[in-house]
Symmetry: C2
Subunit: 309 residues, 2 copies
């Protein structure tokens, strides 16, 4: 099966998504949808893919894509994806606000059914592939304790939250695992002219994103910031418990990755699954734990069963 996608948004994730599409053997990108005022800009990031100000323009020039990969900021994802779904386009997104998951699955499900399309949401690594590992851990070891230990790496959500603090010109928040699923935060800040580091520190500490974790704030110059803001990240998932009545079962999943590159790759793998599920008439909204893993991979099912099972 070959399939086509459109990419909506050309931020960090959008750019890596174009690379993941380029390297996939069965996928091509028909175009990028972005703000009209950005059209034609950043040609290197576009990697030769045409850009359009709307889906209508993209379809008129390149035809209908099998799926849209929504690379908007998380808060915009539900409305952006819903609009595409209602027009009959399958969507994939990496919405990452854990506390709103069932609400968003419900919203997208309604839109998917209205448009006879398939939505896959939370298609990144956490939520996303980590969610699959957590589900698998519980299927193997139903009673016990799991920990998700993030980092060391830059948290996009915490960096954005810190940037919104008055007096902060720029910020990078590094997540440092302390074990047992607990984390400390190391926040590098560039201060605005005249801002006080102590006031900013107190405001960050009071923010709900940071309130419950040990916090260190370090001031850096605008010129120093790029040197502490790279894309390395990782996670250690652990579960210790019992299979049946047998205790002392130990499971761990550990990865060290480029964060946006992995998110973009999971988006493309999920676009493949969405197109397949649409072809099977499974019109609904899904998260990664709702999807048969074999559907994420290029190639025929039985060839993958023979190779991987």
């Amino acid at each position: 099966m070959a399939f086509s996608v459109a990419v909506c948004g050309l931020g960090n994730i959008g750019q890596y998504t174009l690379e993941a599409v380029e390297s996939a053997p069965d996928c091509r990108c028909l175009g990028v949808i972005r703000r009209r005022e950005s059209l034609g800009k950043s040609p290197l990031a576009l990697r030769g893919i045409p850009d359009f100000a709307s889906m209508a323009d993209l379809v008129a020039a390149s035809g209908r894509p099998d799926a849209v990969i929504v690379c908007s900021p998380s808060r915009q994802v539900p409305s952006t994806a819903s609009a595409f779904l209602k027009e009959g386009f399958c969507t994939v997104d990496s919405f990452d606000i854990h506390t709103r998951m069932t609400e968003v699955v419900g919203t997208l499900d309604e839109a998917a059914k209205a448009g006879n399309a398939v939505a896959i949401t939370a298609a990144g690594w956490d939520p996303g592939t980590d969610s699959v590992v957590r589900a698998l851990f519980e299927a193997m070891v139903p009673s016990g304790t799991s920990f998700t230990n993030f980092g060391r790496g830059r948290s996009m959500g915490h960096s954005v939250a810190a940037r919104a603090i008055p007096g902060v010109a720029d910020a990078t928040s590094i997540t440092i695992p302390l074990g047992g699923g607990r984390h400390s935060r190391l926040v590098y800040v560039v201060l605005e002219e005249g801002a006080s580091l102590d006031t900013v520190k107190a405001a960050i500490k009071a923010d709900p994103y940071f309130a419950s974790d040990p916090l260190e704030v370090r001031q850096v110059s605008k010129e120093e910031m790029p040197f502490v803001a790279d894309a390395s990240h990782g996670v250690l998932l652990e579960r210790v418990g019992a299979s049946g009545l047998t205790s002392n079962q130990h499971l761990t999943f550990d990865m060290r990755i480029n964060n946006p590159a992995l998110t973009a790759q999971v988006l493309v793998s999920c676009a493949r699954a969405a197109v397949r599920m649409k072809a099977e008439g499974c019109v609904s909204s899904y998260t990664l734990i709702d999807i048969p893993p074999v559907k994420l991979l290029p190639g025929e099912r039985m060839a993958n069963v023979a190779r991987l099972v």
Copy 2:
């Protein structure tokens, strides 16, 4: 959803399966099917569950189970499961001969469709949950190198193969990982009266199960054997490669487990999935990479999405 099972076979896996059913919040066991001459024997292993010489006897006494967990030796699995499927019983098994996987999936698919039932095969940890991890690894990092490193632990397949060598009264084969997916074998043997250790060593080395790996054979007495034959096992799955065009993505999955306890637990989790898929009319045969992970868990889908995604 609550569901019922029958367990066919009361060997090592069958006994642990009864424990896994006992600890599951939503599953009960209607009975064990075993050879007529064994009926009533090993009451502790039966854990209060009635035993029967046939499915007809079990159904007459306890009613129809929603699924049959087939705990026969691997070679007997395809015919045993097919017979149950044709009679309309969903089946789950931990068939583990990797090279026959597509053949057995095909055989069970035919039987499942004939009986309007669902089959899940290769439902252990390798093949099984490791297969899911391998598929997930490739969805995250499509180009690169994977290694499956087994052990240190007892290989049931290799132990059985060694026991079949002339002159061997009993054998335990320990798998030792050498890295890069390679393994050495340490085989403890109890010799039959008059057998030569050198001859036995040569015969083991010539067996296709052992021919390609470094081998050490150690003679032990019948009394010593139990002290080297425990159920500890483990695996380290590794993948290093690229997501999209970005290299240096490192993924590892490491577990240290009681081998039959985990296999039995995966069987029970898959029985749950089989019953759900039957209710949805998805009559076919599946492996673990064909199954949405959320279906393996007790509880409602959206509650698990909220908790795990």
